[in-house]
Amino acid sequence: MAGDGELKLLGMWTSAFVLRVRFVLNLKSLPYEFVEENLGDKSDLLLASNPVNKTVPVLLHAGRPVNESQVILQYIDEAWPDRSPAVLPSDPYERAVARFWAAYVDDKVRLAWLGILFRSKTEEERAAAVAQADAALETLESAFRECSKGKPFFGGDGIGLVDVVLGGYLGWFTAIKKLIGRRLIDPARTPALAAWEDRFRATEAARGVLPDDADKMLEFRQTALDLGASKKITL
């Protein structure tokens, strides 16, 4: 049967890119072994499985590695076509729209997130990164209204690609809230998106995997900053 074979996910508990894979595996009730990678000391298995990028997540399916988070999400849909829900819709145009917004999130939201937490050296730089995030989230507010068409998620009635891609960042958004003193997805600026966030946090898919401890995440952030400063990793 297609899809047989054990699943192993190499990742880190904080990573937005890893979390999205966990949401989907949860949604489809696919059991897997989670292997926590050490940011400053990558395992041999990781380096052997993803020699080109050396990043998490890596999904090992019966030992074969699939790399790059959005590639993994589509792989899961395609290798288990009978496991609902589908992450991508079946209509070609809707698939293109979902892929477009997922790419947008990983472009604009990712850059702003990196800026706010890891690349800003001054208050001004951080404020500029927050402004970048605000602009991206305003665009996503419109996107949400268009994609959801009045339903609870980007994917409609159920969670889809854009939901899990954006949803993965919510762990860090909890930490950012502590850092900047307000929700990054501001209910005053982007009410539909803020309501989406609350809804997403409450889903089965997010349960147990989406981090919600701001202090722990800020500790992790400090570790990453220290590793970046000593050039052990690139931020």
Binding site: A2, E78, A96
Partner: protein, 233 residues
């Protein structure tokens, strides 16, 4: 003008030298799909472009019965999905995880090309001194990595009947830039990645590629214009 565009089933808003646009042209040619090509003046973008891609305001944009699809790799996948009876670029999905794995592999490598090649190439012609040397080292590594993936294959694979597949189409437009990379970087693709160079020549023999790629000299001239514009000597 706008009404005429909506009547024609496929319209591509594009810019002649864009490798991202060329991917779409080659894909449609491989699939035997007729389309209307529209050259955009990037210094004076059309209302249609701005309306069709308000988020990025970039080409290429594919309009299918008036509905815009943006981002070249998304366009390629859309073409596979929307025209399933045409030669496929990605290996077709069936219920096997082997097929899903082949598709995942193709997507990974197309994403690699997207992330690495254009940016590194830009640094190669735009910078001087040590930063340029660093870009050159990076470019050599990228070409070698791609060559390793190609292996002894005729193409990167997955395309219908052994023809151009997803990764081939994603990468082939950059072969028109190899000459410029070589001139700016002071290296030879043939020397650092002979199999890739052979693949590039092989692709150049294919009608869809020959028809839609500019000559390497034209690309080099274009870069010279950009260099002047940005004050790079």
């Amino acid at each position: 003008m706008a009404a005429a565009a909506e009547e024609k089933e496929l319209v591509l808003l594009d810019f002649w030298v864009s490798p991202f646009g060329q991917r779409c042209r080659i894909a449609m040619a491989e699939k035997g799909l007729e389309f209307e090509y529209r050259e955009e003046d990037l210094g004076n973008k059309s209302d249609l472009l701005l309306r069709s891609n308000p988020v990025h305001k970039k080409i290429p944009v594919l309009l299918h019965a008036g509905r815009p699809v943006c981002e070249s790799l998304i366009i390629l996948q859309y073409l596979d999905d929307a025209f399933p009876d045409t030669p496929h670029l990605l290996p077709p999905a069936n219920s096997s995880s082997d097929a899903a794995y082949a598709r995942a592999r193709a997507r990974f490598w197309a994403d690699y090309v997207d992330k690495k090649l254009y940016d590194c190439g830009s640094r190669l012609w735009r910078l001087k001194g040590e930063p340029q040397a660093a870009a050159r080292r990076e470019m050599v590594e990228i070409l070698r990595t791609l060559e390793a993936e190609l292996g002894d294959g005729e193409f990167f694979g997955g395309g219908e009947g052994g023809r151009l597949g997803f990764v081939d189409v994603a990468l082939v437009p950059f072969t028109a830039w190899f000459y410029s990379y070589e001139r700016c970087g002071g290296f030879s693709v043939e020397e650092v990645a002979p199999k890739l160079a052979a693949w590039a020549r092989r692709c150049g023999q294919i009608d869809s590629v020959a028809k839609h790629l500019p000559s390497p000299e034209k690309v080099y001239d274009f870069i010279a214009v950009l260099k002047k514009k940005y004050g790079v000597e």
